[in-house]
């Protein structure tokens, strides 16, 4: 493994976070191919097993959206408008393959429009059912097979079952390490702050899984023995909702009297909380995992129970999070025009408030330029829950 800048642990995570495509470009120069993908549903295991570097495509809250305005209307999720804007500006011009996904409206339509304007040698649109029933899993498994065939073409080789099983173990290991990292936030104050965790999380989405695992391990070892732990604050916060991918946002929250303790988002726990089961045909485990176990409100769980039971069914994992990590407040983060999370607000509030947890909901514009006015709201929230 090549050690970039000879940095380790948190310093290395910070470096990768700041220069997100650096490692990918280096590896590419060494002959590795890179696949960019949307959201947390295209299985990274299949990409890793075929020796690709899976690279999560994210937006940039620091970069004003300019080019995308001519292609995607302003009523669309700003995160995906930003991601597309970066794509049009050449930020991802080194990727060899693009995997779009039917995660939500924003991801789906942007995937289509992306492949019309941003050309890569290979692209695939992963259809993902909206329901988690058995027949949907079978259909999804079929789509995963097509995904596999498509990128086999780019790899110039067939995927063998053993490599897929190994890749699943490698990524399961990553999931386990991420959970260990999160456990370090259980003490009060936590041993690691939200911005540091975010830097690690973004980093592992930008580098190969083995390197990511080594990085998390380094961070865990470093944090366990560090002296400079975060300050104790009034609030121990659970973040729920649309993703956060910029530390200016987490810094703002944490400098307002709150410690971020756990994040139920697409850059937080969601892709990492459940391990892929070992199944005879590994794609069965992969399909079930992504459709049934990645806890995102984009997947609809059918219910014929009462509202109360429905809430329990949909959100009981949040209760577990809150109890285990002893959180005393919840920040519901909504990227403007994110319908998936927007429709959830009153229901998730009903549930969390019934547990005695105060909830702060903020709709924001995915732009660091418009963050500062939110500070007073976080400060006020910190005071009320302290």
């Amino acid at each position: 493994m090549k050690d970039i800048n000879k940095k380790t642990g948190l310093a290395r995570a910070k470096d990768i976070y700041n220069h997100r495509s650096k490692r990918a470009r280096e590896l590419k120069a060494e002959g590795k191919k890179v696949i960019g993908y949307f959201c947390c549903f295209p299985p990274v295991e299949i990409m890793t097993a075929l020796d690709f570097l899976p690279l999560r495509l994210l937006g940039d809250m620091d970069e004003p959206i300019t080019v995308a305005d001519g292609y995607l209307p302003t009523v669309m999720c700003i995160f995906y408008r930003s991601t597309f804007d970066l794509g049009m500006k050449g930020r991802f011009d080194f990727i060899d393959g693009f995997i779009g996904a039917h995660a939500c409206d924003g991801a789906e339509r942007t995937s289509y429009i992306w492949s019309n304007y941003i050309k890569t040698p290979c692209n695939f649109f992963l259809d993902l059912p909206h329901v988690d029933k058995g027949e949907a899993v079978s259909y999804f498994k079929g789509q995963l097979n097509y995904l596999k065939e498509t990128i086999e073409g780019l790899a110039g080789k067939k995927l063998d079952i053993e490599s897929l099983k190994e890749a699943i173990s490698l990524h399961n290991k990553q999931r386990q390490l991420v959970r260990e990292l999160y456990y370090l936030r259980k003490p009060d104050p936590p041993l690691i702050n939200g911005s540091e965790v975010l830097q690690v999380m973004i980093s592992i989405m930008m580098i190969p899984a083995e390197e990511g695992n080594a990085l998390i391990q380094e961070v865990i070892d470093e944090v366990k023995t560090r002296q400079d732990i975060p300050d104790k604050k009034n609030g121990r916060l659970l973040v729920w909702g649309s993703l956060i991918d910029n530390i200016k946002f987490t810094d703002l929250i944490e400098s307002s009297g709150l410690n971020i303790i756990i994040e139920d988002t697409a850059t937080g726990t969601r892709p990492f909380w459940h391990d892929i089961e070992e199944t005879e045909d590994p794609l069965d485990g992969v399909a079930r995992h992504y459709l049934q176990e990645v806890k995102c409100p984009r997947t609809f769980a059918e219910t014929d129970t009462s509202y109360k039971e429905d809430l329990e069914n949909r959100y009981s994992y949040l209760k577990d999070f809150a109890k285990y990590w002893k959180v005393n407040g919840v920040f519901g983060n909504i990227i403007r025009n994110c319908d998936i999370h927007g429709y959830e607000i009153p229901a998730v509030k009903d549930y969390l408030e019934s547990l005695g947890l105060p909830v702060l909901i903020i709709e924001q514009d995915y732009s660091t330029a418009s963050l500062e006015p939110l500070r007073t709201r976080f400060q006020a929230f910190a005071e009320t829950i302290g």
Binding site: Y71, N116, A136, R298
Partner: protein
Amino acid sequence: MKTENKKIKKKSGKTLQTAREASYFAKKMLKNALQAQEEGRPIGWSMVTWWQGELIARAIGAELVFPENYGAFCAATGGAEKHLEISDSEGYPATLCGYARNSIGYAKLLSDNNFVPYEGAPGGGLAKPKFFLASGTACDARYKWFQALKRYFTEAPVWTVDLPMPGTKEFFYKGNKELGLKYIVDHLKDYVAFLENLLGTKLDYDRLNEIVDQTFKTLALAHEVDILRRAVPSPMVGSDFWSIMIPHLYLPEDPEAYEFYKKVYAEVKQRVDNKIGAIPNEKYRLMFAELPPWHSLGFFGELAEKFGMAIVIESWNYHAILPIPEEEFEGVTDPLEKVAMLTYYKWTEYNKVALEYNVDPGFFMAAYFQFAKDYKTDGLLAHPLMSCRPATYTLLHTKNTLENKLKIPGVVIDGDIIDLRVFNEKEAFSKMEAFVETMDHYREERKKAGIAW
């Protein structure tokens, strides 16, 4: 060129007699729901699922009402404002779909009023649902919205009928179409079990077969009308279509809908045979994308009168399905399979066109490439809706690619489905005035490029 309607009706813009009669079906739907309520029959609040969920629900004896329509109705009658305010105060973002916000506000009032529609509710209100029929097709609102409504109808289950939506290229992967159809059929079996369990009655498959056959018949005839519209001058316009679509989109299994389309067909055919245009002096043939500004349909009359602009074809998603080749039905006897084919073929029917022009997605946008040719159009009038997402997302993309690949220019005029003030008629009119020159320019460009029409 002769014209039948020298005077375009300012308010509705309708030019067909049958279009004027079509409101009968909207009233009939409402009446059926009220009657069902009186008779104690189950009522479902439903999304349009392009027939995938509705036909089965009706075959088992449920009556359906459509909150999306109710949103339009409330907006048009001035009753939406109150509902929107309630939705906002309940904590739902004001950026959500306007129709959803309207029904959330209404649902709150209904549940607060012991499930009796409040005094003065627009159109008498919607009756309490026994279940929700949500849809995984077209936009996230169409299932998240109903899931959210459970907050107000705590015992009513929400069922989401899902539809595969692979990319265009992926749709043509070997075996993928069959895989998609299998998913739908298996999924519909689950749906039938859900309904049977909820309503305590068995689905009569013979009855479903009848309903499905009748639906295909009606849709085929509605499509024949679409074909007639290719004539120059255009025998009917968008304002006619928005009225006549109700029976095929909402009540295709109703034999009265079929009889109605026979009349529409005869009226349109008579115009085509006699080269009668729906508007006087048709000069520009336009495609229209998304829902129209309901309160200002007279705007189209103005465009016709002043510039000779006719809306000759409109939003793909509201049109009847293209005919499915007979041989595709060989050996298919299960009505669930026919339903699966109906909806899935509708959603993928323009995938070949998408491949031909190398544009994605096949739904919502590729149809305009075919329309442009078949209907010999000069431009696209894009009407993005602030609070309705699905087609709006691809409108700019559609406009850009039509310009690039077919030299069909587009003009964008903002509007909304709930906040009717977003549509600024005066501003829109001057944009259209400027657009005349653009269309003239592109006509020349098309000539130079050897693109027919």
